[in-house]
């Protein structure tokens, strides 16, 4: 995104209104599948890791397409697609250590997968059987957050907890931990998100703010939220910001890795803007044709995050057909798991609703539950 015109005289009067803030776009693998060097970031894992990323992205996309199909078949009420954001999520997710903790939005299906959350569990919220059934502590992956931006403050608070637990800057890689707060370009306008920047800077909290700038907040383009590149928001709060090609899994991994390292060793927060694109609709209920041009979408198709890795792997003969076949087979299995598992998900019952409002049920709620149960029984036979 170009720097906007701040009108006449600004140059002379106030000097340039913002700086570059680092490499405009960190890229290590071009859309054409060429590895390129970057002065500040490098991908130092081997080709096996790249193969792994490829597999991760294919499976992640499969989760997304299966879920989308399940919604079309009425098995899900709604689904938030991640199509096009696979590299941003796998690259960042794979940079995490077990002891790190993630605070996601509602679209981090790929990150959830990297944390080892059974993708099936992700469907519950969208099917309407629960509001997130995975245990946040089992995989250090928090529940999805629907209220835009709210989780970024939770992330900073959790990071402040890490500081108090002495697991930041201890120098022990097994011990030191960090937090990643995921959010979108639209979310960057919320007060909570900006307050999370304030708190993180004030306490130098070990948190990585990972913004997936997919160019859209439902129907609103990024330009409505910010007239300068989003990563530069960090400059206003006194911590580093960097823009990475969010469709480049290698670059995303490398940049997130560096940011996480800073957090873990006590150097504080970083804003990572993963520059990507929402290839699908906002959700399955959205109709993007009302507000954006198909040309844009076509343009971004050429930057597909999976395709460029495939080209790289094949061009350099790093994989054979079996490699792709195996992954395809795995994806098939995953599809079956999701399709069958979704339909088999246990239905909630209304009486359960009274049970977890508080850690222990109050007399008031016990009474409401009992009364409603008696009422329901009164229909037995009746109908």
């Amino acid at each position: 995104m170009a720097t906007p015109d701040f009108g006449p005289g600004v140059g002379e009067v106030f000097g340039p209104t913002h700086r570059d803030g680092g490499p405009e776009l960190v890229q290590l693998l071009t859309p054409e599948g060429e590895r390129v060097e970057h002065p500040e970031f490098s991908f130092d894992l081997g080709d096996d890791a790249i193969k792994g990323f490829y597999r991760d992205m294919v499976l992640t996309r499969r989760i997304d397409t299966e879920a989308t199909a399940l919604q079309r078949h009425g098995e899900l009420g709604i689904w938030a697609q991640l199509l096009g954001q696979e590299a941003a999520q796998i690259g960042s997710g794979r940079a995490l250590n077990t002891q790190d903790f993630v605070f996601p939005t509602y679209r981090e299906h790929g990150v959830a997968y990297t944390r080892g959350v059974d993708p099936l569990r992700l469907l519950g919220l969208f099917r309407g059987v629960d509001q997130g059934s995975w245990d946040p502590y089992a995989n250090n992956f928090g529940l999805y957050t629907i209220v835009i931006g709210a989780q970024t403050l939770h992330a900073v608070g959790y990071a402040m907890g890490l500081q108090r637990d002495g697991v930041v800057g201890s120098g022990d890689p097994e011990r030191d931990a960090a937090v990643v707060a995921y959010f979108g370009d639209g979310a960057s306008s919320q007060g909570d998100v900006n307050e999370s920047f304030i708190f993180a800077a004030s306490y130098n909290a070990p948190v990585v703010f990972f913004c997936q700038n997919n160019q859209w907040a439902i129907s609103e383009p990024i330009t409505r939220q910010s007239r300068i590149p989003l990563y530069q928001r960090a400059l206003g709060f006194g911590f580093p910001g960097v823009r990475v090609d969010g469709n480049d899994v290698l670059a995303t991994y490398a940049v997130t890795q560096a940011a996480l390292e800073r957090a873990r060793n006590g150097s504080g927060p970083t804003l990572v803007e993963a520059y990507t694109y929402r290839m699908g609709a906002h959700t399955t209920t959205d109709d993007p044709t009302r507000y954006r041009l198909s040309e844009d979408v076509e343009h971004w198709k050429l930057k597909d995050p999976i395709q460029r890795v495939k080209v790289y792997l094949t061009r350099h003969g790093l994989v054979d057909q079996d490699f792709f076949d195996e992954i395809e087979a795995e994806a098939e299995q995953l599809g079956v798991h999701l399709r069958e598992g979704c339909k088999a998900m246990p239905e909630p019952t209304i009486l359960d609703v009274f049970d977890h409002v508080y850690t222990e049920q109050t007399a008031e709620l016990a009474a409401q539950k009992a009364a409603y149960s008696t009422y329901l029984d009164s229909f037995e036979g009746a109908h």
Partner: protein, 325 residues
């Protein structure tokens, strides 16, 4: 006369308000090209331009806070909150700024603002998309709170709210947006905005509702009639100020009252209405006012929402219980 859904009626009402008064502005998330996620502002940006139908950054406090400034400048902002559960980031601006400006300025500053909120459940949505926040706003002096229940009211009430000089929290039963069509006579003279309406006469029980529960309660009254029980139904329409004279009159006749809403029962509108009825009609009451509301739990996952929400049977059951006294 045109047949319209509630969604279309609100859209038509907004359009007419914008035609009538150039000071009327619409602001919110996705209200422009998209026409809002429920299409209530469909086509308005195209016809009135981006200066009058404003897509805002994703920040509710920002929407309401800037609307306050526009109102001070003499505009009449109509703000759309995308879903009930997302009004809370703007709560401070609404209760501490919007609600108090006229009071603290001794009337020198007016706040002719409308805050449209699609509210209530029953659409199979995920969490935070099915809340009923009305009681919290009704508890706040300086705000007015109304709820429409049908296309005709939607068409007129939105125009009346926009013309009104006090801030109005305008609640729209999202479940009804695309439900039933009704004939809207654009030439009619509507009832005043802050009035309740008797919508079915009866002699045994008085049934009170607003917004999404009006339809349910009418159905319950119908079913009760089958069983020979005569139920009078009143659409409250205005929640703050309440217009209860007609209600008291009805209660003096029936001696029995059921009040229904989707909001949590504890401290919901039913609590206030029950208390006032006791204060005004103590000797006329044959039975305690019975409240049928959402349970005192967070709104549940969609798969059980229909059992969580008050429905025909639960209202009917309440009618029977009050008759049991």
């Amino acid at each position: 006369m045109t047949k319209m859904t509630l969604a279309k009626a609100l859209n038509a009402g907004l359009r007419r308000s914008m035609e009538d008064d150039p000071k009327v502005l619409i602001m919110g998330e996705d209200v422009g090209k998209l026409g809002g996620v429920f299409r209530i502002t469909d086509g308005l940006q195209k016809d009135f331009g981006e200066d009058r139908v404003i897509d805002s950054p994703l920040a509710e406090s920002g929407i309401i806070g800037t609307a306050v400034g526009m109102a001070i400048r003499g505009y009449r902002p109509v703000c759309e909150i995308q879903f009930d559960g997302f009004v809370y980031p703007a709560y401070d601006q609404i209760v501490s700024q919007v609600a108090k400006f006229t009071f603290r300025s001794q009337g020198k500053v007016k706040m002719p603002m409308v805050i449209r909120i699609p509210f209530g459940g029953g659409i199979g949505a995920v969490e935070h998309h099915s809340e009923s926040p009305e009681a919290q706003f009704a508890h706040t002096p300086g705000l007015k709170v109304v709820a429409c229940s049908n296309p005709v009211d939607g068409y007129w009430m939105i125009q009346q709210a926009i013309k009104h000089d006090d801030p109005v929290i305008f609640l729209e039963p999202k479940r009804q947006y695309h439900a039933d069509k009704a004939e809207v006579d654009e030439t009619a003279t509507p009832a005043p905005l802050f009035t309740s309406r008797l919508i079915r006469t009866g002699s045994d029980v008085t049934l009170l509702a607003y917004g999404p529960m009006v339809k349910t309660c009418l159905a319950s009254a119908e079913a009760a009639a089958q069983e020979g029980k005569s139920v009078e139904v009143i659409d409250l329409r205005t929640l703050s100020p309440l217009d209860l004279d007609g209600v008291f009159e009805s209660v003096r006749k029936t001696g029995r009252v059921v009040v229904a809403h989707e909001a949590h029962t504890n401290l919901g509108m039913g609590a206030e209405i029950s208390a006032r009825i006791m204060e005004e009609c103590f000797y006329s009451l044959e039975a305690p006012v019975i409240r049928v509301g959402g349970f005192d739990t967070p709104y549940p996952p969609a798969r059980v929402e229909e059992e969580w929400l008050p429905d025909l049977d639960r209202v009917l059951d309440a009618v029977d219980r009050t008759l049991g006294y």
